[in-house]
Symmetry: C2
Subunit: 240 residues, 2 copies
DNA sequence: CGTATTATATTGGTCGGACCACATTGGTCT
DNA sequence: AGACCAATGTGGTCCGACCAATATAATACG
């Protein structure tokens, strides 16, 4: 069972993110919230701590006030994604853009580090896309694995943290779309070959271009799955 | 005055980040910590909530255990930066790489959106670097302003959040270095011209290249200032 | 002797009530 | 109407207590 203050913070977070309080407006007092949630004030207090660290409220003596969404912490993403039956399409697209770019940066750092060993390791993951016939599920896992290994190899802590944070929030929200994904393994294989070659030559620009193409294909795939899911009668809107 | 649980969480955060507890090791119990900090358990509890959301400990019935740093939240950066007299050089460099890349992504998004109005707005900030003679301080502000406007224009929420989060943690840590910065306004002006031209032509590749050059110069400047500060006898090591 | 299996102590999660300092609010006085 | 001030509300902190889950020590078993 989830803890009580987690339930409270989740509910309050949704209230705020849904815009049920205007920006700058005061939330009910901790005592009132305690009554509403049938909880002790301490529990409410811990829940508020979470909202505060999510960057969506500012709590001070005198009251807790709602902040603007673009002042929030990265962790709000998951909450923004889980609003409604399906995640917001624009947000999904924006996240994909960012993730792809981050991995691209990682690739760049990888090349600049000039570690033959690690480059070869990455190439191993790239080759998986054209050396073997991958099933739908395996293909999906391979894509994620490549990204993660790439990020690891960047040896850039902030980059890793950002990417992991985005990933952890994004992947679960995409699971309901898994059934709708139609991966063009041929094109992926093609792109992978180009990428592999670029890696072999240590050609930064080529790697960048190849990886961008690879990422773009990945993004297209997900967006297509998303659109398909959206136009398909509900059957399984929520995933709980 | 800062609140008590903030003091506690700061101190505990430093303990953990400094590696005074091994990964997986249990922290002292909340009751013990309450004694150590001469505080009530509730206050300690709120402090622990912070550590938990920083992603550096995992608290469960039975005890709170230290997690690995690369599982942390983006917000640890500021704590990592404030360790020691001067921030870690590698970390600073990594952050600069990421920030520059993020702004570059923003620029890309800006061009793809094809909003003449906003592109012109950005060009205004770019032109500031070669249309006027900027003092040291004004130049610094102009650089920051350009980045922020660029990010705004991307209309990408996750991107904005990430960049702002990094910025807010990074900028304060760099203030002690302000005196050591030596900006080559000439080269900045040169790069700005190139960038402005690329923006005018809506040439994505050119914008990317120009902006990367601009960013690289920016990064060099800061790293140089950093190295200079490090080799200079202390005078003002800490900034409190 | 080493390994399951209990019992016990410890730990976090929650509760209720209480006090303080500060912010807000509303009323009073000018 | 504006400045001032008291009453009220709010978050920050404290105390002591209970429960359920976990960890640890003691025990029984093979």
């Amino acid at each position: 069972m989830t803890t009580k203050h987690d339930q409270i913070s989740d509910e309050l977070t949704e209230d705020v993110l849904q815009g049920r309080y205007r920006v700058g407006e005061r939330l009910p007092s901790e005592r009132d919230l305690a009554v509403r949630f049938d909880a002790n004030r301490g529990a409410v207090r811990e829940a508020m701590k979470r909202l505060e660290q999510l960057g969506i409220v500012d709590v001070q003596p005198g009251g807790a006030r709602v902040k603007d969404t673009n002042q929030a912490s990265l962790d709000v993403i998951s909450h923004l994604l889980s609003q409604g039956a399906l995640p917001d399409r624009h947000l999904v697209d924006q996240i994909l853009v960012v993730i792809n770019s981050l991995v691209s940066i990682a690739a760049e750092q990888l090349l600049k580090a000039r570690s033959d060993e690690e480059i070869e390791k990455i190439r191993g993951f790239v080759r998986a896309f054209f050396e073997q016939e991958l099933g739908k599920e395996a293909h999906s896992l391979a894509r994620i694995a490549l990204m993660q290994k790439m990020l690891q190899s960047s040896h850039n802590l902030p980059l890793q943290i950002i990417a992991r944070t985005l990933f952890e929030q994004f992947v679960p929200s995409m699971e309901p779309l898994a059934n709708f994904a139609q991966v063009d393994t041929q094109r992926f294989a093609q792109n992978a070959k180009t990428l592999d070659l670029a890696l072999e030559k240590r050609d930064l620009a080529a790697v960048r271009a190849a990886f961008d193409a690879f990422s773009e294909l990945n993004r297209e795939t997900m967006v297509a799955a998303f659109d398909l899911a959206q136009s398909t009668p509900g059957q399984e809107a929520n995933s709980l």
